[in-house]
């Protein structure tokens, strides 16, 4: 199990103004699995993502990341585990403009304290995994949005990182490019990673293995797939 949440509750503030952002959420994400999270504004999606990545802690319940319970660790160990296990992908790509694609992808490894040469080699491998190795020496402003987001996925999963937390990764892209990004993310996860995807677009959530719906901090329903796609269309040719 790459990520596990048990009875996770998060209350912001206290007393009469307290807001319960999450209430008793259980969630498991395995290697090779992509889980989508949907819900309206204020339903708890961002809080869930922040808690899954260790950026925020639960008021109650437990978060286990790569086998370690996050809040049983001291701050330093928690930061190290978080840094080495989790990568983020955002709507606006968040690449550093002054660094090339390869340098952007190598940066997390350099911050891990890995030698420059090893970091660069791992960055190239990460770029290759998402099909943009040929763009390694380009700067962000020399790439399209879809290409930048591929680099961001490479950076999120560079080196030993196995969990990608993606917050509306298709939000700034047109529909066809958004679909390309979901194909890349899906393939990257199938090749040996795990992902939690927050999106408000059901057709992108449909690339996940499961979708959970949050309302007022509670998981109200979730979907897996039942039967095969063949059950869906009367007479497909596949």
């Amino acid at each position: 199990m790459v990520l596990s949440l048990r009875g996770v509750t998060r209350v912001h503030g206290s007393g009469p103004t307290a807001v319960r952002a999450l209430a008793g959420v259980d969630l498991d994400v395995r290697l090779g699995e992509l889980v989508a999270v949907m819900g309206s504004s204020g339903s708890g999606k961002s809080t869930l993502l922040n808690i899954a990545g260790g950026l925020d802690g639960p008021t109650d319940g437990a978060v286990t990341l790569a086998g370690d319970e996050l809040h049983a660790l001291d701050l330093k160990a928690r930061a190290r585990l978080r840094r080495r296990s989790v990568g983020y992908v955002f709507q606006d790509f968040n690449l550093i403009p002054a660094l090339t694609a390869a340098e952007n992808a190598a940066l997390p490894r350099e911050l891990d304290g890995i030698s420059g040469r090893t970091a660069r080699r791992e960055a190239r491998a990460a770029l290759r995994e998402v099909g943009v190795e040929a763009l390694a020496d380009r700067f962000p402003d020399e790439m399209s949005g879809g290409q930048q987001q591929r680099v961001a996925i490479a950076r999120a999963l560079v080196g030993p990182r196995r969990l990608v937390l993606a917050d509306e990764p298709t939000g700034a892209l047109d529909s066809a490019t958004g679909e390309d990004i979901m194909r890349v993310l899906r393939a990257r996860i199938d090749a040996g990673a795990a992902g939690l995807l927050v999106t408000h677009e059901p057709r992108f959530a449909a690339w996940a293995d499961r979708t959970i719906f949050l309302r007022d901090g509670v998981v109200v329903d979730g979907t897996g797939t039942r039967g095969g796609p063949e059950s869906l269309l009367a007479g497909t040719r596949r």
């Binding site: 949907m38 309206s40 679909e179 390309d180 194909r183 899906r186 677009e201 059901p202 057709r203 959530a205 449909a206 690339w207 996940a208 979708t211 719906f213 309302r215 109200v220 329903d221 979730g222 979907t223 897996g224 797939t225 039942r226 039967g227 095969g228 796609p229 059950s231 869906l232 269309l233 009367a234 007479g235 497909t236 040719r237 596949r238």
Partner: protein, 193 residues
């Protein structure tokens, strides 16, 4: 109407016999709308009756071939150039069901919405898996046609999930702000008296 125009479009490309026509129609639309031979024959008869299609001279035991006439080609050109009318909404079971559910006693609308969303989302996942099998870069023309039909179904399923999210939020808001409980409690009944 679309079967008639679709068959006319195929016959404008090249002469075909009824069985070929059926095969081509299904092939080009990814088998999403299968036709039976009875439908094909009836539609062909009507196209011939209306002067849009004509049979070619039969040769021995060969099945009869048909082709589009000049009138048929004009009709087809008009079809390509005219948007599909969207003035009268299609009768949709889910819309009818929900419209009745919010006012009917004893129906838990929230549960209904969540169960439907689960079902529609499953369908969307299944469609997406079919799409995932088609290479994204430079699909062959046949794959492109099939992929666009799938896209249509994907967007329709997505629209339904979005609408269900919207219904869920509106029902929740109605309950919060007005004490209206569409899950058919006494409050709802009182509010409407």
């Amino acid at each position: 109407m679309s079967v008639r125009q679709g068959m006319l479009a195929l016959l404008a490309e090249q002469p075909m016999h009824a069985y070929q026509l059926r095969q081509q129609f299904e092939h080009r639309t990814g088998g999403t709308w299968p036709l039976n031979m009875g439908q094909v024959s009836t539609t062909l008869d009507r196209l011939v009756r209306d002067g849009l299609v004509e049979p070619l001279a039969e040769q021995g035991d060969e099945p009869a071939f048909y082709r589009a006439t000049a009138t048929g080609r004009d009709e087809l050109a008009r079809w390509w150039a005219t948007p599909v009318e969207r003035t009268s909404p299609a009768r949709d079971e889910l819309s009818i069901k929900l419209a009745l559910a919010v006012t009917a006693p004893g129906v838990d609308v929230t549960a209904l919405v969540q169960a439907q969303r689960t079902e529609t989302m499953r369908a969307l996942v299944d469609l997406t898996r079919l799409k995932a099998d088609i290479p994204a870069a430079g699909p062959a023309p046949d794959d492109l046609a099939w992929s666009l039909v799938l896209d249509n179904l994907v967007f329709a399923a997505e629209a339904e999930v979005r609408w269900l999210n919207h219904v869920e939020a509106r029902v929740a808001r109605a309950v919060r702000t007005a004490g209206v409980a569409p899950a058919s409690t006494e409050t709802r009944t009182e509010a409407h008296r």
